[in-house]
């Protein structure tokens, strides 16, 4: 009896020692960073660093969802130098799990002061008040100039709820037309298509069976059956997803059905496009081996092509987004948002202004190849440079035009679900499981149910 008691006691003690031993290692890591974000703690001077001569030292916690190639981190030392009272606690977060972090953080009171946010993609957080309104903080000006003059209207709309702005655009994503100039010349096509009619006409010349096996292996265009790549076609035909006050779905309007019909026809009727389903992986391989002659996508693909297909130097060009009634494009991008519960909103705003200067927006372009959201930055030499890879043209020109004509997606809570529903409808139509009218009618019904 005594023996077993002793051995048990030892076992329990061993466990306790183990647990305690593991915990000792935590002392030096940044417990501060989270303690900062005002649970119940008093104002600014609690970060533990010695302040400058009694001044208040503020530590800003920044969540960056860019990943390993972040453009923000390299700029931090300069900001801290210019702002001696502010220190940045930079925390990289994986993009795929941003909502896990936000949901857990919101409920556990562990949110940062500032973060890069995908407001157009996930509007639910601004609708629910996770971010701080910026109107008062900014006085509607950024770095001395009115905000409305520095960014595209679409981007600003995408960050606004009831006229209150919740994020400053940082980079943008807007689709323009990429095309293989050399393949076009080979096929005796005068130039890139600018509208749907030309797309079909030129497309037929560009679609070939080069290895004589009876089926085409070089296609004019690629159709990706998801909402984002259908979006330009929807808007080009004057269609919309929801009505004016976001209460009802109009995704099954005649214009929308026409657009989807055309999109699906590219694959099924005119046969000038290849349906690139998700199981085929990245369509870059289709670009590389010449399967695809033209596609619509955003500026970031430029860097991707240069890295993955260096042998195509000089062959690609960037053209204007395709138009029907008007040019249509997809709008996306990253914003900088301050959090509602942050206790250092003023300092956070300073950092936003710093990141949004023309100079630093150019840095953004140089570091990560992303398109600066600040339109003034596009006048700078780096962005006006001719690019030999794209035939010595200035590639950003047409992207900039795209973002200027772009339209924001509805800023409502249910948006992510809605985009999934529409993607399903697109997929069904392209695969000819349902007609566009059927697919969109079903989608409209589901969306209306959501909106109730």
């Amino acid at each position: 009896m005594k023996k077993s008691f002793m051995t048990i006691l030892i076992a329990v003690l061993a466990f306790a020692v183990l647990a305690a031993g593991c915990s000792n290692n935590s002392g030096n890591s940044s417990g501060d960073a989270t303690g900062n974000n005002g649970n119940a703690s008093a104002g600014n001077a609690n970060s533990g660093d010695a302040g400058n001569g009694g001044g208040e030292q503020v530590t800003l916690t920044v969540w960056d969802f860019y990943g390993a190639t972040t453009p923000i981190k390299p700029l931090i030392p300069q900001f801290e130098e210019q702002n001696p009272g502010i220190k940045i606690e930079f925390q990289a977060q994986p993009w795929d799990n941003y909502w896990d972090k936000l949901a857990a953080g919101a409920s556990g009171g562990e949110l940062p002061d500032l973060a890069t946010t995908g407001l157009l993609w996930a509007p639910q957080y601004q609708v629910l008040g996770v971010y701080a309104g910026l109107n008062e903080l900014s006085n509607n000006e950024l770095n001395g100039k009115p905000i409305a003059e520095q960014f595209s209207q679409g981007m600003l709309e995408g960050a606004s709820v009831d006229d209150e702005l919740y994020g400053i655009p940082y980079d943008f994503d807007a689709y323009a037309l990429y095309y293989r100039q050399d393949l076009l010349e080979e096929a005796n096509v005068e130039g890139p298509p600018t509208n749907w009619g030309e797309l079909v006409e030129y497309g037929k010349k560009l679609t070939k069976d080069t290895d004589g096996d009876g089926s085409a292996d070089q296609f004019a265009f690629v159709v990706l059956p998801d909402w984002y790549h259908f979006e330009p076609f929807l808007y080009a035909n004057g269609g919309k997803v929801l009505n004016e006050d976001n209460t009802k779905a109009v995704i099954n309007s005649p214009e929308a059905v026409e657009a989807l019909q055309f999109y699906a026809d590219l694959v099924n009727k005119h046969k000038i496009a290849v349906n690139w389903t998700p199981d085929r992986g990245s369509y870059i391989s289709g670009l590389k081996d010449g399967t695809i002659a033209m596609f619509q996508d955003g500026p970031y693909v430029m860097g991707l092509i240069k890295d993955s297909i260096p042998e195509h130097e000089g062959k690609w060009r960037i053209g204007k987004p395709l138009a029907d009634e008007q040019m249509g494009t997809h709008l996306g991008g990253t914003y900088l948002s301050v959090f509602h519960d942050s206790e250092h909103k003023e300092e956070a705003w300073k950092f936003i202004e710093f990141l949004s200067t023309v100079e630093n927006q150019v840095e953004l372009y140089k570091t990560s190849g992303a398109a600066p959201a600040n339109l003034d930055a596009h006048e700078e030499p780096e962005l006006q440079a001719e690019d030999p890879f794209f035939g010595n043209e200035v590639p950003m020109t047409n992207f900039k035009e795209a973002v200027e004509i772009s339209v924001s997606t509805p800023v409502i809570r249910e948006w992510q679900e809605i985009s999934t529903i529409i993607s399903d409808a697109v997929s069904l139509s392209v695969m000819q499981e349902e007609t566009p009218q059927e697919a969109l009618d079903n989608a409209a019904e589901k969306i209306n149910n959501l909106l109730q």
Partner: protein, 277 residues
Amino acid sequence: MGLKKIRQIRLLAIYSALSFGLIINLAPLAWMISTSLKQPSEIFTFPPDWIPDHISMDNYIGVFEAVPFEMYYVNSIVVSICVTLITVLMCSMAGFAFAKLRFPFRNILFILFLTTLMVPFHVIMIPLFKLTAQLDWLDSYQGLIIPQITTGFGIFLMRQFMLSTPDSLLEAARIDGAGLFYTFVKIVLPIHRGALATLAIFSFNFSWNNLLWPLLVTNSETMRTLPVGMALFRSIRTIDWALIMAASVMALVPMIVFFLLMQKHFIRGLTAGAVKE
């Protein structure tokens, strides 16, 4: 003569069958290693090239330049070993109790442990996070380790194996005056080395590859684990395949090493001669 021939043929058949599956099993590994040695321009070819044109270690160096990979490595090792040790210890004890001891509420308790297997993580994610934050365990080893300990699987597994412990052995020990704990350590555990090794492998594997919990619980670069660090190579629009594969190859090594160490314990016939059934 005939019997030996038959046995030889059978062996040959077994080797052939096993080798047949090898290709698909090792293909992912081969692809990983191959991609990690490639330049970005070689990655998107279809069908894929299995042998890179220029072999370069650039990606491996690139991983360390892009993120503090060594720190992630260390953290992952510390956390996984702690989780494994604690899990094996706790589950073997509890498993033994459920298998061989009789006490009130035994079955109910066992079912309770089983229920933890039936709840998807996302349900408990938020309250668990809140709790961990309240305990002030964010960005700490204990925050990483303790909530990651899974008792359901381990206890279920241990109980299962320990059910077959010969009762006669336990009786003999009791008659000899050995305490329960002594019996447990000196008699029961050695018999079930295979089971312990199995549990160790799975605990280690689970913890080593666990992304979600370490992601939630850590923010500081110095406390992150490998899966979280590698997730950073997936940016908003693209995946850096070259770097991710180099990182994944490096991350695979400890797992394989641990597996090799543990599987030595699957030795036949430990109970041979111990007792007459």
